[in-house]
């Protein structure tokens, strides 16, 4: 792979990382949602229209797009958060499908089936890295916060979380809003890099591959989606030469293998902690100090 190609791929990896963080934002509250793809589409086309056609300044159009994403996240959450997990996932997939139909039919704003051109001002390394840093900062700050611990509790055991006075729906609502803002941003950067977007830019494929990236990287730490997105974008490109058109087969097989054998992904904080805990216990045992009766009862409920 040439250097230029590699750099282009890395840029898309960055954009995908933003999408992956958006999916992670709701997944960490126990909600499997592909809605960020829809949020991304709406924000991207809005960006294209406001920055391109209306002539709004690009940073302002970005802010509008991100805000719009957050607002859509809130509305979506109000409508569908009470659904059971399967139906909720289905509903968000349906949103993606409807999004495509809307794009095709709102020709005046979206260019319809032929798509539309988008200003490329945000398609630079500075903007991309800057936005990624901001996104990672937000996610890492939230991780250990009151909200972050509540989100972990809701994801691992919503019933128990409730007895700690945590309202799962409120936590999931916040998750959706963050997911919407990140999805909106990701859509805008995607559009700005491509400089052209059409009805197929934000479709199921993007959602599924991004979800795969989150799973590969790990949905239990904010670094997981970033690592996963980079791996999942680079891998097919690296495989393209030896594998030809079958590169994606590897992606799919890998996804199945990971979910079976590494359900918590590459960035697995729990495993690290487990190793550390064992290490400590061993150190204690070596000192021949009496240890509490250890029956090593590990309720290994790995909920993915």
């Amino acid at each position: 792979m040439s250097t230029t190609a590699l750099l282009t791929t890395l840029q898309f990896a960055g954009v995908n990382a933003l999408f992956a963080l958006a999916i992670y934002a709701s997944l960490r509250t126990g909600v499997l949602s592909l809605a960020p793809v829809f949020f991304g589409a709406v924000s991207a086309f809005t960006f294209g229209y406001t920055a391109g056609t209306v002539g709004l300044s690009v940073p302002l159009a970005l802010v509008v797009g991100v805000g719009l994403g957050a607002a859509m996240g809130a509305v979506t959450a109000v409508l569908i958060i009470r659904l059971d997990s399967h139906y909720l996932a289905m509903a968000t997939i349906a949103m993606v499908l409807i999004g495509r139909v809307l794009i095709i039919n709102l020709v005046e704003y979206t260019g319809g089936p032929t798509g539309t051109l988008v200003p490329g001002d945000l398609g630079t390394w500075a903007w991309l890295i800057g936005s990624l840093v901001v996104a990672c900062y937000v996610m890492s700050r939230l991780a250990g916060s009151r909200y972050g611990l509540a989100a972990d509790a809701v994801r691992e055991d919503p019933a128990v979380a409730q007895t700690l006075a945590i309202s799962p729906r409120r936590i999931q609502f916040v998750g959706f809003v963050i997911s919407g803002a990140l999805g909106g941003a990701a859509g805008i950067f995607q559009a700005s890099f491509l400089q052209y977007i059409g009805p197929d830019t934000f479709y199921t494929h993007l959602g599924f591959v991004t979800l795969a990236a989150v799973v590969l990287g790990g949905a239990f730490h904010w670094a997981g989606p970033v690592v996963g997105a980079i791996a999942f974008t680079l891998l097919p490109e690296l495989l393209r030469e030896p594998m030809g058109e079958y590169d994606r087969v590897v992606t799919g097989v890998l996804l199945v293998i990971i979910i079976i054998y590494m359900p918590r992904g590459l960035v697995d904080v729990r495993r690290l902690r487990l190793l550390r805990s064992r290490g400590r216990r061993r150190a204690v045992d070596d000192d021949a100090t009496p240890t509490p009766t250890d029956r090593d009862t590990t309720p290994a409920q790995v909920t993915t």
């Binding site: 997944l27 569908i80 039919n105 979910i259 079976i260 790995v302």
Partner: protein, 295 residues
């Protein structure tokens, strides 16, 4: 009036294919608790295989149809045993099987695209029945008649199988709790394999009939079916396959009617709009869960 009746016929025929697909999709969802997004690719592979057998091996369409259905069923079993069985054994949560099915979907779709190529093809005209039936001034193509008949046969058959046979009670027992089912003498694994085969084979049938009706065999047949079948299952509920089947037919009629009388562009929007409204207003599906499984 004549046009309306004709479009109704067309809609029912199109809807029958959606309904067929929905039946298999609902089976997997209700009996195994798996939202299998790879289900569409089983349909695609059924169609691709039958096309290959007709054009390259010179088999008759009917033999090719049977073999295509078998192949789809076999793919379903393979997917179940390679991907879902390990997850079941580990007691993984709800999301893991969905993610595994996305992996299968990527693999089978990529292989299908590589195998079929980008151009759309159709079954050779001389190999498939083509003489239209005329009845009360309505025209029915053989593909349409076959689709409707296939739906009636499959829905009746599967419904009787689930409600009236020993195998049906075994499936119900396994769906509720595989471990207890094993205790009362049901071979859980074999039962699940049978369900996986049945569901995927029905998808294969839907794929082949869809290709026949559209006069178009391509790698993306299954994608369209997945979306419609999925809508049918959500609206119809997956507890009773008859509900999903009925809604599948209704979606077909809605599509044909809306493209005739409203706008062809918004055809899909209407389907999915209905889907979303139902999800928000009645999460348990229009017919509720007259359910065998408490999810």
């Amino acid at each position: 009036m004549q046009l309306l009746a004709q479009q109704l016929v067309n809609g029912i025929a199109l809807g029958s294919i959606y309904a067929l697909f929905a039946v298999g999709f609902a089976l997997i969802l209700a009996k195994m608790g798996i939202l299998n997004v790879a289900h569409g690719t089983f349909a695609t592979w059924g169609a691709l295989a039958s096309y290959y057998l007709v054009t390259e091996r010179g088999l008759s369409f009917w033999v090719a149809l049977a073999l295509g259905v078998l192949l789809a069923g076999a793919l379903g079993v393979a997917a179940d045993q390679l991907a879902f069985e390990p997850l079941r054994r580990r007691g993984a949560g709800v999301f893991a099987p969905i993610i595994a099915s996305i992996g299968i979907w990527i693999v089978l779709l990529t292989l299908a695209e590589a195998h079929a190529g980008p151009t759309a093809v159709s079954y050779p005209a001389e190999s498939v029945p083509a003489e239209p039936f005329r009845f009360l001034g309505l025209i029915m193509l053989p593909a349409q008649v076959i689709s409707v008949l296939a739906l009636v046969v499959v829905v009746t058959g599967v419904h009787l199988l689930l409600t009236r046979t020993r195998f049906g009670s075994a499936i119900r027992a396994v769906a509720v709790d595989p471990r207890s089912a094993t205790i009362v003498g049901v071979n859980a694994r074999r039962t699940l394999i049978a369900v996986a085969f049945l569901a995927a084979a029905i998808a294969g049938l839907a794929g082949i009939l869809g290709a026949l009706s559209d006069n178009n065999v391509s790698a993306t047949i299954g994608e369209g079916l997945l979306l419609k079948g999925f809508a049918a299952v959500v609206v119809g509920g997956y507890g009773d396959i008859r509900g999903a089947a009925l809604v599948g037919v209704v979606i077909g009629v809605l599509e044909v009617m809306s493209s005739q009388y409203i706008s062809s562009g918004f055809r899909d929007a209407i389907t999915f709009g209905v889907l979303l409204v139902v999800l928000v207003a009645r999460p348990q599906g229009v017919f509720g869960e007259r359910q065998l499984v408490r999810a």
